[in-house]
């Protein structure tokens, strides 16, 4: 059993919200004893432990106390009651580039920042090259930081925090900045940290990110901890809490169903002219609405593994078509193909008459674990593609079980004891 790296013991934090702030002596005397304020409990008796080597995500809406909690862990705020015990060196990334002195050069700031994280000069000397390399600053390292672009600022901040050999890394929503390649690099570094047995405390709005890197997640709502468990479970609790609060969901860009705006599909014209895709002239069959229909008719915005899901697509045929083929693709959020089939493969011949019609693909049992998945639907005639919608709609799977991974396999275990 690994020891506890971060122990959050019954932490509460009260903020005084003054309706008007009096910070001068005159105002204090005038308003003595009757400064109007409201108590706001940003954290209410939050307590959990993070084991060494564990990655714990913190989920919550804006204002739920996530950042306050991280600030308490980092020691920027003191809890009103309760305490936080941190074992080992802690590096916090609450805001990238915080603590940089703009007048100093990147080099000087690395030493300065390092010393704020409690690293001796000798150790920074040793890490210096890898920090500069990670930050991709090159010769700019001796320029004053005030002349840096925001990207360089961010890279330097992250590079220092991850290269100073922390035992506990605290990250607050900072991965959202920086370009995609750098984000990828940061994620890889985080995964390396996990392999090295370091502890990570991680706040993110991205449920997918929490699911992909965290071992466990905590859900906060209005300062109180309302759930803790596997990332999938926590994300589910988080979503349900959002719905219960009547809040607008942070809707995915593609809703559960879609209708083409002007009857045009999304066939890539450039691809078509390059001859990669054969499009039949006039495109006799057009897709209309494509929607995910769930068997139980429930309106929760997610699917659980094993559930049956129907992709319902409506189409219009301009003239009778013989041998039309409908295609279905399921792609992961990272756009890799999970599953693909069409009516020809399924041995289903369809001759369409002119007019409207619909097709249902019934996915009997979703074998997927946590994640967001895109559904693409297409229709082709023997002469070529007629319509292709990518993505036509998407669905999210939440895994209530404590299993982890990308697929949900029905599993059974038997233990035989020697007689």
């Amino acid at each position: 059993m690994a020891s506890t790296a971060v122990s959050i013991e019954d932490v509460s934090k009260r903020f005084r919200l003054y309706h008007e702030k009096y910070t001068s002596l005159k105002e204090r005397v005038i308003h003595a004893g009757r400064v109007p304020y409201e108590d706001l409990w940003a954290l209410k008796n939050v307590g959990f432990e993070v084991s060494e080597g564990e990655t714990v995500g913190i989920l919550g809406r804006n204002g739920s106390g996530k950042s306050t909690l991280l600030k308490c862990v980092c020691g920027i705020l003191q809890p009103t009651s309760g305490r936080v015990v941190v074992q080992g060196k802690l590096a916090g990334l609450l805001e990238l580039g915080a603590g940089f002195q703009p007048e100093l050069s990147g080099r000087e700031n690395i030493y300065m920042n390092g010393s704020m994280l409690g690293i001796s000069k000798r150790d920074v000397d040793r890490m210096f090259d890898s920090i500069v390399e990670f930050a991709e600053l090159g010769q700019f390292i001796d320029n004053q930081v005030k002349f840096y672009s925001s990207g360089m600022y961010v890279r330097l901040g992250f590079a220092v925090a991850v290269n100073v050999d922390p035992d506990v890394l605290v990250i607050d929503e900072v991965l959202a900045v920086g370009d995609e390649r750098f984000q990828q690099k940061c994620l890889e570094r985080i995964k390396q940290f996990q392999r090295e047995g370091r502890t990570i405390l991680f706040v993110s709005h991205s449920a997918d990110l929490v699911r992909s890197i965290c071992d466990r997640a905590v859900v906060l709502a209005q300062g109180a901890m309302i759930g803790m468990g596997t990332p999938g479970e926590a994300v589910r609790i988080f979503r349900e809490q959002l719905m219960a609060a009547g809040d607008v969901l942070n809707l995915p860009e593609v809703p559960m169903s879609s209708t083409p705006t002007d009857g045009e599909g999304t066939i890539d014209e450039a691809q078509a002219t390059a001859g990669m895709l054969r499009i039949e002239d006039g495109r006799p069959v057009r897709l209309r609405e494509v929607a995910i229909v769930r068997a139980d008719g429930d309106d929760r915005p997610y699917v659980v593994p094993g559930e049956s899901v129907t992709v319902h697509a409506q189409f219009d045929a301009a003239r009778p078509v013989e041998g039309a083929v409908f295609q279905l693709e399921v792609r992961s959020n990272e756009d890799s193909l999970i599953f693909s089939t069409d009516t020809e493969v399924m041995g289903l011949r369809s001759d369409l008459v002119a007019g409207a019609g619909s097709i249902d693909f019934v996915l009997e049992s979703i074998p997927l674990a946590d994640g967001t998945y895109k559904v693409c639907v297409g229709v082709a005639t023997p002469k070529g593609m007629s319509d292709w919608r990518e993505p036509a709609c998407q669905f999210e799977v939440m895994n209530p079980a404590r299993t982890r991974g990308t697929v949900s396999m029905p599993v059974r275990a038997t233990i035989a004891e020697a007689p």
Binding site: M1, A2, T23, S24, L25, R28, S51, E52, G53, E54, T55, K71, C72, V73, C74, G75, I76, L77, Q78, T80, G82, R83, V84, V85, V86, Q87, G88, K89, L94, E95, A98, G99, Q101, E103, L104, E108, Y111, M112, S115, M116, G118, S120, K121, D165, D167, Q194, R195, E196, G197, R198, T199, D215, R216, A224, I226, G227, M228, G229, Q241, A244
Partner: protein, 339 residues
């Protein structure tokens, strides 16, 4: 909708740490424990400060570097500014308001040297938390370090001004009391502790009452300065007025005068660096043929008196420092939200 968190111990991380233990695994190395809580003892806070001593050095360096960045003369400015003060006072008191003190520059500088350190340190420290709001709100480190860095950079300037002082002494051929040079340290240490204590206290109060900054500027810069025998001589100008009468009023005045901790410290500096003991001929004009007017500028106290006085200040300063740490510790928890 309050879901009870399952009281299941997480095993995922544990298992991974056990299975995937890479050679550079950090799981088994020694670790320090840090507690974030509303009540941390002064001793713990001091320990934190000691751990962050390198940061203190960086902050002092940054303060000095940034102050004179992009200025042509750079650090020379730290010597020009006291030299200017010195020149003005010398002209005023040597020419217009003749006080007759021989080598007045040295007399003035010996007190001013210590006072400048104290005043710059305390004034900078008072505003330091508010001025570094960006840092205080985003990065975690013992906040006292900021106030200490202000005192530290003042100490560096003290060093540069001391160089100027040595130059003046060489040019004006005014040697210090060589045998008593160690007394400089005896006065310097209490001044340092006193400035740190006061700086830490005022820095934390200033976050809640921004008046502090202005109040301190007025009180320290104007009133306190004149309460110390820096521009005038204690022995010549204050002592007779205390000694002439034995009324309680004067005793009270004497007590108040010496309750100023800077007085014995400044006088120690003068004893060592000005070092003109006994009756000194003044430079005031006299009718021809008469001997020059003589006066005693420094008290004829034995060295032990200075040592005891400074030691008393030291004890008081340590108590102040302790109180300041308690107050700062209480207030520091809310800095990030008050700024």
């Amino acid at each position: 909708m309050a879901l009870e968190a399952p009281a299941q111990k997480p095993d995922a991380g544990t298992a991974r740490a056990a299975f995937g233990a890479t050679p550079n695994s950090v799981a088994n190395r020694p670790k320090t424990t840090r507690v974030v809580s509303a009540d941390v003892t002064v001793l713990d806070r001091l320990r934190e400060i000691w751990r962050s001593r390198e940061l203190l050095i960086y902050l002092v360096r940054t303060e000095i570097k940034v102050k004179y960045k992009n200025s042509f003369l750079g650090l020379v400015w730290s010597m020009v500014s006291p030299a200017m003060t010195l020149a003005v006072y010398t002209v005023v008191f040597g020419t217009f308001l003749k006080n007759g003190i021989p080598n007045f520059v040295i007399f003035l500088f010996s007190g001013l040297l210590l006072w400048n350190f104290f005043q710059t340190g305390v004034l900078t420290a008072t505003g330091v938390i508010v001025n570094n709001a960006g840092l205080v709100k985003k990065v975690s480190f013992p906040r006292e370090i900021l106030a200490l860095a202000a005192i530290g950079s003042a100490a560096v300037f003290l060093f540069f001004q001391a160089i100027v002082m040595v130059l003046f002494m060489l040019v004006l051929q005014s040697p210090p009391a060589w045998a008593l040079l160690w007394l400089v340290l005896v006065a310097l240490v209490p001044t340092f502790v006193f400035a740190c204590g006061l700086g830490i206290l005022l820095a934390s109060v200033n976050v809640y009452m921004r008046d502090t900054q202005h109040l301190v500027t007025v009180l320290v810069g104007a009133a306190w300065f004149w309460a110390c025998p820096i521009v005038y001589s204690y022995q010549q100008d204050v002592s007779p007025r205390l000694a002439d009468h034995h009324s309680t009023l004067h005793t009270l005045f004497a007590v108040i005068y010496f309750a100023n901790p800077m007085t014995p410290l400044v006088m120690t500096f003068q004893r060592v660096l000005y070092a003109r003991m006994g009756q000194v001929p003044l430079t005031v004009p006299v009718p021809p043929g008469t001997p020059p007017v003589r006066a005693q500028l420094l008290p004829s106290w034995p060295v032990t008196t200075y040592v005891w006085a400074d030691a008393a200040v030291f004890v008081g300063s340590v108590i102040l420092f302790y109180v300041a740490m308690i107050v700062f510790g209480r207030l520091a928890g809310n800095f990030a939200e008050e700024l």
